[in-house]
Amino acid sequence: MEGKEKKVSDLLQKETTRRGFLRGTAVATGSAVALATIGSLAGKSAYAQAKPPEAPKKDLMKYLFAERQNCTGCRACEYACSVFHTGVVRPSVARVHVMKYKDVIDVPVICWHCDDHPCIEACPTTPKAIQADPKHNGIILNENICLGAKCMKCQEACPAHYVRANPDTGKPLFCDMCGGDPECVKACLAQSCNPQGPCLMANKLGFGVNMAYRAVTPEQAGADLLDLTFYPNVTGKRVTPAKTAKSRKARR
């Protein structure tokens, strides 16, 4: 109970919206740069050498979030994820992926780190092969216990249709939040620029948004985005110039 109260008070005192978080990091980075500049200006003073400016301490992130309409389909997130986890670029084992919907929409497919963890609930082994890390909320898979291809109950249970199998081992791939500082978010922010803002974001609080978004499958999200983006063509139905010309002729 006490813990919960603390959380609420945090919420009231600090800027904790997504934008607020981003602004916060921007300010922190800016001050780090300023410090570094001062250090270099001061030359080789003993102080600058003894105490290099410390990187601002980051909170561990617990939730991923995708601003879906900002995705350009560049797959920088897949690249960063697979490089972090396997050392080389290999999108087929990335824990985040970008799905093309009807060739015109890119849908980022991520783990929303649900608070009730349907995947862990569904895991039939004892002890559970998948656990949520209490510190950073990342889902950690114990490959020794996991039953792999013959089970995949987690895949069935995931409301967001996020879980895919590793093509080598047949075992499911889970987002472990890279230990609280997700690489995909950093990669997305680095690529994003005028006029397209970042798509992937991370936060230490879920605000229930994760629970709302997790109920949407990638296909539904694609359909929604298509409707939103390409009005008046809300279904993505193809209008070909040839057919348009023909049908006009027939009407005449």
């Binding site: 389909g73 490089v83 050392g87 290999r90 087929s92 209008v239």
Partner: protein, 607 residues
């Protein structure tokens, strides 16, 4: 001879359509060091396997779908290069396209797909890692590129598969047919669509789950990250991120004076405000789409919101498509122009050549050389979208008199029509020019006249630029996100990435030597077909007619310019004054096997 350590697998998927078999072609590391990949590798295969005067439509003629060593790695914006001997010009030809197709080939564990033979009935190929399947495409035959793509994706049952398909134009063997990759990107300009149609190959779908091996990952990531940072931060590139290449339409009109207008009559086209980037931003674009790992996202998707094409989702305009099918045709209705672009993509036609042919036809009608009776009663005039739409359809299906005439391309049309029409033909080495008028933008003439393919805008805008672009096209890298951003650092960054990736010990000198080697291989191939200095020049109109208006009013491309460009380029490459590689150069570049070919060509063409 050893297998590659990293970057490449040393395996090329060799498909023979005649008997529906495939095998692995082992390629040693030395060949990659010599020719890199992509179109360099294709030039290596072509000079080795083809004798002079090869029939480009012969059964054993091949198409090479080639990614480079950097595809599928952390390097940004790796693309696909498709190379073949062009049935349109009879010369070596390559086309580059964006999207994820090339990377998927690498992730499937191949360094390229080499297709030869001719199927008896229509076929499409599915490549999933090591598994290759030949699938019946009888039902797909006749469908346009988007429908084909959709049907193939449905059958692949995998939203992450990538396709390259042809449309009705390719099936009907129109020589300007192109390959459409993932619905919106085109590898055009080399007649690959016609060749695929000739082979009865409707498309290829690829899905891969492997990774490209890297020798020294730490060092490689360092350089790759640096290269990426340059592309993210380059200030001049923020405009391309916002406006795509459509923004260049206005720029080349107002500032450079090199916007193609009405078949090179002028470069001043005030109506550009109705069809250019700003208008597209105002009434068409909806989202930005990037190729893999690219921060530039230059492709724009949009939807037409009113009029007869309401609801049409399309891409563009890009500079080339908006120039050739926009200002070149005197279009001032934005929606009609988008519909023309979309129609070309759907039929699988090269936007640039189609625009060139339509512009040429319109000018001939305007000058009274062609009569509507020669065009099935159609009378094209500048800005008449409906007539152009009808002509594009006829062109793609070779329908009627107009279709048969237009589908031959400008060179043969001029020969057939006669009556001085060749003066209006804007072609180099038999291929239509792209949307940059070389009178206003003289540097572009390097690419047009000295590039291997002829009439191609994507082969560099200076002597060194041609070598850089030869390397970029062989690495299958995007010139926007990599080559042009790196500028003077091209050699340093490329070598810096290739060495730790492949375990090579290339120096910056080797970079230039390799680029020159690729250009020389391509040149020797063309020399065998009779190309020499006399072909490296712009058409007569651009050398005599002064620009009548615009920022470069009075400019003309002179004989001295031509001579200067040629001399500078030939001496840099080590070719003689006739534009033919000398024996000494061939020996320095390690191309001894081509000495006899060059000698034979010299004898044959008395050079």
């Amino acid at each position: 001879m050893s297998a590659p350590k990293g970057g490449c697998f040393g395996k090329i998927l060799e498909i023979n359509l005649s008997n529906r078999t495939y095998k692995t072609r082992e390629v040693p590391d030395e060949v990659y060091q010599k020719a890199i990949g992509g179109n360099g590798l294709a030039a290596y295969f072509m000079t080795n396997e083809y004798k002079a005067h090869k029939d480009p439509l012969a059964e054993d003629a091949f198409i090479f779908y080639g990614p480079g060593p950097l595809n599928g790695t952390y390097c940004i914006a790796a693309r696909t290069s498709i190379a073949n001997m062009s049935p349109y010009t009879g010369l070596i030809s390559h086309a580059e396209t964006g999207a994820h197709f090339g990377n998927e080939i690498k992730w499937a564990g191949w360094d390229g797909i080499y297709v030869k033979g001719r199927a008896k009935s229509p076929v499409w190929i599915s490549v999933v890692d090591d598994k290759v399947e030949f699938k019946d495409a009888t039902n797909l035959w006749g469908k346009d590129t988007a429908e084909t793509h959709e049907a193939i994706m449905k059958e692949m049952k995998d939203p992450y598969a990538r396709t390259a398909v042809i449309g009705p134009a390719g099936e009907n063997q129109v020589p300007i047919a192109c390959v459409i990759v993932e619905r919106f990107r085109a590898a055009a300009r080399s007649g690959t669509g016609m060749l695929m149609g000739n082979k009865k190959l409707k498309g290829i779908a690829v899905r891969g789950t492997k990774a490209v091996p890297v020798v020294d990952n730490v060092r490689f990531m360092e350089v790759a990250n640096y290269a990426k940072k340059l592309a993210v931060e380059k200030e001049a590139w923020q405009g391309i991120k916002r406006w795509g290449t459509a923004g260049l339409l206005e720029l080349k009109h107002y500032k450079d004076g090199s916007l193609i207008t009405k078949n090179f009559q002028t470069t001043w086209y005030p109506d550009i405000i109705k069809i250019g980037g700003e208008e597209a931003g105002r009434r068409f674009w909806k989202r930005h789409v990037a190729c893999n790992h690219c921060p530039v996202h230059c492709l724009k998707l949009g939807v037409i919101r009113e009029g007869r094409y309401r609801g049409m989702i399309g891409e563009g305009p890009e500079y080339e498509s908006g120039g050739l099918l926009g200002s070149n045709l005197g279009m001032n209705d934005f929606n009609s122009m988008i519909a023309l672009i979309e129609a070309c993509d759907a039929y699988g036609l090269d936007n640039i050549s189609t625009g060139g042919i339509l512009g040429f036809t319109t000018e001939l009608v305007e000058k009274g050389i062609l009569k509507p009776a020669d065009l099935d009663g159609l009378k094209p005039k500048w800005g008449d979208g409906d007539t152009y739409m009808a002509l594009i359809r006829k062109l793609a299906y070779k329908e009627g008199k107009a279709g048969k005439l237009l589908s031959q391309g400008v060179k043969k049309m001029a020969a057939e029509v006669g009556k001085g029409s060749d003066y209006y033909a804007a072609i180099v080495k038999g291929k239509e020019l792209a949307a940059h008028d070389p009178r206003g933008d003289k540097a572009r003439a390097y690419s047009y006249v000295l590039g291997s393919c002829g009439g191609d805008h994507h082969e560099g805008a200076s002597t060194r630029g041609l070598v850089i672009f030869a390397m970029l096209n062989s690495l299958s890298l995007c010139s926007f996100a990599t080559g042009l951003v790196w500028g003077g650092e091209n050699a340093k960054i490329t070598v810096g990435m290739l060495n730790p990736l492949c375990g090579w010990s290339m120096t910056e000198d080797d970079y230039w030597t390799t680029g020159k080697r690729i250009l020389t291989m391509e040149r020797v191939f063309n020399v065998r077909e009779g190309v020499s200095r006399k072909d490296d020049r712009l058409p007569k109109r651009l050398m005599t007619e002064k620009l009548p208006a615009g920022p470069k009013k009075g400019a003309v491309f002179t004989e001295e310019d031509t001579k200067k460009f040629q001399d500078e380029f030939y001496s840099f490459l080590g070719w003689d004054e006739k534009g033919i590689p000398t024996e000494a150069t061939l020996k320095t570049l390690g191309l001894e096997y081509l000495i006899d070919d060059v000698a034979a060509a010299r004898k044959e063409y008395k050079l």
